[in-house]
């Protein structure tokens, strides 16, 4: 995996995911190590994403790396009309690895082809966000102690949410039962469901969130966006139907945990935050360890 770019979650095999998760566990025990003090990490954020950028920069800094880069395209030469290729070729001269976020889909794959240093995709439009997917896997394994034999419920916008698609695909490597809760308009696309079937796994579809409360080991919440509906009346009908509250979780399994890629709007009531099931803020912290594992692996120091 040394020197190999990570663009799509499908670039890694199951064994490679597990290797990253194991290493992330090591970093969780000991996050401050002087492993990357000879390295420069470039974080190129062509669109702002504070959470992801800070998580990468914290991961790199705690391992002693120097961090260079920009946090939105306006403060870079992109605003002067520089092509992505030229930006990448230039930055590759100054750094050992590039972490990039870009609003256009496919930009990260293209960057990895022109760059002489490896590229980590920190989100390319609506396409891929593989480090989110790895930190979700890490959070599931950490809270449940395993990745096989779990009942995982996905809730909300399953049609457009890229994190959901990638995570479902990745979980197809394990013995997962999928519970898919969404309004009819926002059901999981059929190509993703085909992928579940092709792996001899099963899925169940629901429109009522209460139906999965007693069976789920993980509830993965996502936000439903108004702009996804062609008919605003339909949005008004469903907008409050997929809000998780502490009262709804009364009969959940004791090991159940609630995940969310954040930022949330109102889909998880704040009264959930103080329950033992709330895991979404720790999930975000796990992102630092997973990104440390990726940086260390791709730079070849671990």
């Amino acid at each position: 995996m040394k020197n190999r770019s990570l663009i799509s979650i499908n670039d890694y095999t199951k064994d490679e995911y597990l290797k990253i998760l194991d290493l992330a566990e090591e970093f969780e025990k000991n996050p401050k190590q002087d492993l990357l003090n000879k390295y420069v990490v470039a974080t190129l954020f062509f669109e702002p994403s504070t959470r992801t950028r800070l998580s990468f920069e914290s991961a790199a800094s705690q391992l002693g790396a120097k961090v260079i880069g920009f946090s939105d395209a306006n403060s870079s030469s992109v605003s002067k009309g520089e092509s992505l290729k030229d930006t990448i070729l230039t930055v590759a001269n100054y750094s050992d690895i590039i972490v990039m976020r870009h609003p256009k889909e496919g930009s990260a794959r293209f960057a990895s082809e022109v760059s002489k240093v490896p590229v980590i995709n920190a989100g390319d439009g609506g396409n891929q966000h593989p480090t989110q997917c790895l930190l979700d896997l890490y959070s599931i394994r950490k809270t449940q102690g395993k990745l096989d034999g779990l009942n995982i419920a996905f809730v909300g916008d399953l049609k457009y949410g890229r994190t959901v698609h990638s995570l479902v695909m990745a979980l197809c490597n394990f013995d997962t039962t999928f519970h898919l809760v969404s309004p009819i308009e926002l059901k999981l696309p059929s190509y993703v469901k085909m992928h579940i079937k092709n792996n001899n796994l099963s899925y169940f579809q629901y429109t009522d969130l209460n139906d999965v409360m007693e069976s789920a080991d993980i509830i993965y919440m996502t936000r439903i966006q108004r702009e996804r509906f062609s008919d605003p009346i339909e949005y008004e009908k469903v907008k409050n139907a997929y809000i998780l509250t502490a009262e709804m979780m009364e009969h959940c399994k004791p090991n159940m945990r609630v995940l969310h890629p954040l930022p949330r709007v109102n889909e998880i009531n704040e009264n959930v935050d103080s329950t033992p099931q709330a895991y979404y803020f720790t999930q975000a912290l796990n992102g630092v360890f997973v990104r440390q594992a990726l940086l260390a692996t791709i730079l070849g120091v671990k």
């Binding site: 799509s8 092509s83 992505l84 290729k85 870009h102 609003p103 256009k104 889909e105 496919g106 930009s107 794959r109 293209f110 390319d124 439009g125 609506g126 396409n127 891929q128």
Partner: protein
Amino acid sequence: MESKIRKELVVSAIENGTVIDHIPAKSVFRVVKMLNLEQTEGQVTIGFNLESKKYGKKGIIKASNQFFENRDANKIALIAPTATLITIKNYEVVEKRQVEVPDTIEQFVKCVNPNCITNSQHITTRFNVIDKLDLKLQCHYCEKITGKNNIEIL
């Protein structure tokens, strides 16, 4: 019988070169463009709305002294899946082959996704053909699928 004779005549009418037969009548000019025949110095004859027993109406292109690599010829399978390539040497048919959709396609198809990086920067498009019968092209970059009804030739 009469049309059979005429077809043989049409096919034999060049000394050396390639005849592309059984092109859907409406795709003839797109094939010309795709094979860059507008730029060629040699003699090119183009026919369309010719009668075809098998397909109703068809188009045909005869290009003197032009021979196509499989790689180039297979590109046209995207818009003319029924096309046959006939290689002529000394007025004789030396080879006849059906075009085939290739496994990968580079350069001449536009990605259907408006938010794909290939549509906003100077980047050569690349696709993996994931369904040859129903023609589905997956973009190497944005991973979105361009279906047969959305194929736009650059």
